[in-house]
């Protein structure tokens, strides 16, 4: 369970996607998102579909693991599909009285859904399935570093992220302990109305908060005792390093995106 918490949905592996520098993945993902949002016609979206399929294949992650990420957006997906389905112009396909399905609407709904699905799939593939949260926070710190010139606290944010990550299991354990202790004193968290329940949770939240403050205080002492003094002059055990893999992958990736965008403009010129 602790491993799950530490790694989030990370799926251990040694594929090309796993070995890429997290910063590369970050930047390429932004490019991919732009490429996903621009085209609205069939052909470029088909290309995107093929491209994403290729990514899934090279990640060597079982399809069902990847598809499970769609569960969380199922509601939005259906909602967006229906909205698009019942709007738009063109030939009337089906008349349901107030609601009418037209040709354009159907096409838009399908394309829109594909784009949404690809957006979520590619993001999970790049950021959560093949990158650990720790790598992510390192990448963020590194990418945001130039912003520290305008006093953007890049190091502090990354440090906060990694400490939060570190303390999630500790605090979960603590919550369980406090709940057990208060239940032993007769607290009841299962029955009663909403107000009674909410009031009941005070007996968990207050001790948890106090413990958090105590921990924060002690942790601050421990960090100072180990010479922590902010991000200045700090080195890293696992320094991020770009490799030739990052270079080659980026070139191919950018070319693919360019082709898709080019296809998009060609198609829109035709129309």
């Amino acid at each position: 369970m602790h491993d799950r918490l530490l790694l989030g949905k990370y799926y251990p592996g040694k594929s090309i996607l796993h070995r890429l520098d997290p910063r590369t993945k970050f930047i390429l993902l932004i490019l991919l998102m732009v490429t996903l949002l621009i085209p609205k016609t069939v052909f470029p979206i088909l290309l995107l579909l093929v491209g994403s399929a290729c990514l899934i294949i090279i990640s060597k992650i079982p399809l069902q693991e990847i598809l499970s990420s769609l569960r969380s957006i199922l509601f939005i997906l259906v909602f967006a599909f229906l909205i698009n389905l019942f709007s738009g112009k063109g030939t009337l396909l089906l008349d349901l009285g107030v609601l009418k399905i037209r040709q354009d609407g159907l096409l838009n709904a399908v394309l829109m859904s594909i784009r949404l699905i690809l957006l979520v799939l590619d993001t999970t593939l790049f950021l959560t399935l093949t990158t650990t949260p720790l790598q992510l926070s390192h990448a963020l710190e590194n990418l945001l570093k130039p912003l520290s010139a305008i006093r953007f606290p890049a190091h502090e944010i990354a440090m906060m992220m990694s400490i939060a990550l570190r303390f999630v299991p500790t605090l979960l354990e603590e919550t369980d302990k406090i709940m057990k202790a208060q239940s032993s004193r007769g607290a009841n968290y299962d029955t009663g109305g909403f107000l009674k329940k909410a009031k009941g949770y005070i007996s968990i939240i207050v001790p948890l908060f106090i413990s958090c403050f105590r921990r924060a205080d002690e942790l601050a002492n421990a960090m100072e005792a180990r010479c922590y003094h902010g991000g200045a002059g700090r080195t890293k055990l696992n320094e991020l390093r770009y490799t030739s893999l990052d270079l080659f992958f980026s070139i191919i990736f950018i070319i693919c995106c360019a082709i898709i965008l080019f296809a998009h403009y060609q198609m829109s010129n035709l129309i």
Binding site: M1, L6, K180, R185, S203, A222, C227
Partner: protein, 622 residues
């Protein structure tokens, strides 16, 4: 996982690391830590003029490679002293010189903190890294050491403390003892010259604590580290080179362990324990006249320090004079024949059916009679917490039955009744306080169980009396109180429900000797009221006061028997990772000396049994 060096290679390189690298910039005459007449006061928030004095004119000296112990009660200023040494606090008056650097000199700050590593009390609150290796790297990263060198040091340190197979694991997967070793590894990676231990073993079980100290002693030898140990554990302090005893922010007295413990009155006056054999001697001597004791001093001028010396002195003293028997109340508590707790065939597996499944309990069966006191012992991870969580239905049995006063935890309705009759107090109960006032917090339990307002008030007042708090504390916030007072409020919280059965999980953990004695007094008070007490502990001194002991080992009950039978079974104890109470060990030594069988498991028992034996022998001879 990256492992660029073979283990043997790394260990070979380790021989070379130490002061050649770490402290080369330190001149030999500067290789000491010196606190000179230091005073320190914490400002009170909100009031600029007032402050709380924590240290007054404290002077301490520690030469390179020495092991110094600083003893004292909770709140005597020990932790503040530790913070002065690695410049977490700067003294208001006086000076702290660490390896030639004054701690008030800001430019030396990082050098001081690098050479003086500190292990704190709570293992969890000092781990920064998300993985074990990231945590070890934290210190060197802050010092700006190049990545390759950090990697090298991390691997070295991991192997040295024996955590190499956990390198990329989350710290939350480690046990308490392993977390403290991780803290040591993090310090080793900074190439220290001194390690400060701030009650570093007080949250560990005895076996882990022993392992931890073995490691510390090895490292002290290997790298000639200075060890500054803050503790109230006497059994460890006796191994130090020099001891300072603190009281109310001042050095009360100091000396080598021999010098300190040959003045038992002073140690006790500082609110500390004596090693058990010396305490038994202390109790024994109380039965003799002053005259006899003076004679002993002349006839036996040696120090009384080691167990052998103590036994000799006791033997001599008995030859000089006759003891006057002091009446000791050895109340025998009566337990009825009524079974109040019945656990049958209980098994429990965490995350059953997954690949993470862990068997916590296996076929546990036992019964407790009304009015009995049972101690549940076993090392960390033996299933103690899981077992007691079953007793009041926090965990419903997967297989087997738990019946409390004929109520069954399988019935949801019964669970509420059970919790009313069975008060369960977890470890560090002060962390469960949450109400605005002490009164409300103590009244929380009784209120939940539907006691009437007048009964609640009566019970709360009674409970406050039992735990020895002043009545006017009722209207204060529990969060303004000291740790020891908070513990008492939490205990009063279960007492106020007026249960039939009390299940107490390490109620004395983390308290100083006087605090621990108070807890024992509460337990004895409960026994006088004919309550049933289940005590979970790994302190054998405490367990020895029970009627029966239940030994848990890897989720199985390996013994459930009288104190005598359990403690006389060496193999059983070793198997379960437990130790014989020190008083019992000493009793065997004096049995030899007086050539008769003297037993006992607490200091009081041993000295009483010895005196009883001597007086009966005298009668027989007469």
């Amino acid at each position: 996982m990256r492992m660029p060096f073979l283990k043997e290679q790394i260990l070979k390189q380790m021989q070379g690391f130490s002061h050649a690298e770490s402290a080369s910039h330190i001149r030999s005459e500067d290789r000491l830590i010196m606190i000179d007449e230091a005073s320190f006061a914490y400002p009170v928030s909100g009031e600029s003029s007032s402050s709380i004095v924590a240290l007054k004119n404290v002077s301490i000296k520690a030469n390179q490679g020495r092991h110094i112990a600083i003893l004292g009660r909770n709140g005597s200023g020990k932790t503040t002293l530790a913070k002065l040494i690695n410049a977490l606090e700067i003294p208001d008056q006086g000076k702290v010189i660490v390896f030639g650097h004054d701690t008030s000199d800001e430019s030396a700050l990082w050098s001081i903190r690098q050479t003086c590593g500190m292990v704190f009390q709570n293992p969890d609150n000092q781990i920064v890294g998300t993985t074990v290796e990231e945590d070890i790297a934290f210190g060197p990263e802050n010092l700006g050491i190049p990545s390759a060198e950090i990697r090298h040091r991390v691997d070295q340190s991991l192997i040295r403390v024996g955590l190499e197979q956990y390198a990329v694991k989350a710290p939350s997967q480690l046990s308490g003892g392993q977390k403290q070793k991780l803290a040591i590894a993090g310090i080793l990676a900074m190439r220290p010259a001194c390690i400060i231990l701030d009650e570093a073993t007080s949250m560990l079980d005895p076996k882990s604590a022993k392992d931890f100290f073995k490691l510390i002693k090895e490292l002290q030898q290997e790298f000639s580290l200075t060890i500054i140990e803050i503790t109230h554990d006497i059994e460890n302090a006796i191994l130090a080179d020099y001891i300072y005893i603190m009281q109310q922010g001042e050095i009360f007295f100091s000396g080598t362990p021999r010098e300190v413990f040959t003045r038992p009155d002073k140690v006790l006056a500082a609110g500390l324990d004596l090693p058990q054999h010396l305490y038994i001697n202390h109790l024994f001597q109380k039965s003799f006249s002053l005259e006899a004791l003076e004679k002993l001093c002349k006839k036996y001028p040696n120090d009384i320090f080691t167990p052998e010396e103590t036994a000799d002195a006791m033997f001599e003293l008995n030859n000089i004079a006759n003891p006057q028997m002091i009446a000791v109340s050895t109340t025998k508590y009566n337990s009825s024949n009524k079974t109040i707790i019945s656990v049958e065939n209980l098994s429990y597996t965490y995350q059953k059916g997954t690949k993470f499944a862990v068997d916590a309990l296996q076929e546990v069966s036992f019964q407790v009679k009304q009015g009995e006191m049972v101690a549940i012992v076993g090392h960390s991870g033996s299933g103690k917490s899981t077992l007691i969580s079953h007793l009041n239905g926090l965990i419903v049995p997967q297989t087997g039955q738990v019946e409390i006063m004929n109520l069954n935890t399988h019935n949801k309705k019964d669970i509420r009744e059970i919790r009313k009759f069975l008060g369960l107090l977890f470890q560090y109960p002060e962390h469960q306080l949450f109400e605005n006032t002490v009164y409300e917090d103590i009244a929380f339990g009784p209120k939940q169980f539907g006691f009437s307002e007048s009964v609640i008030e009566k019970n709360v007042k009674q409970a406050i009396d039992i735990v020895g708090l002043p009545q006017d504390i009722m209207h204060r916030s529990p969060f303004e109180l000291s740790g020891g007072q908070q513990r008492r409020v939490a205990i009063a919280g279960v007492l106020a429900t007026d249960c039939e059965i009390y299940v107490l999980d390490e109620p004395a953990a983390g308290l100083d000797p006087i605090g621990q004695q108070e807890i024992i007094n509460y337990i004895m008070h409960l026994r006088e009221l004919n309550k049933t007490v289940i005590l979970v502990t790994h302190d054998m001194k405490l367990a020895a006061r029970a009627d029966r002991i239940l030994v848990l080992n890897q989720g199985r009950v390996t013994a459930y028997d009288t104190v005598e039978n359990v403690f006389s079974n060496q193999i059983l104890l070793e198997d379960a990772g437990l130790e014989v109470p020190p008083a019992y060990k000493f009793a065997r030594l004096i049995s030899e000396k007086f050539s008769s069988e003297i037993t006992g498991y607490t200091a009081e028992e041993v000295s009483y049994n010895l005196l009883k034996h001597l007086s009966s022998r005298r009668k027989y001879n007469a």
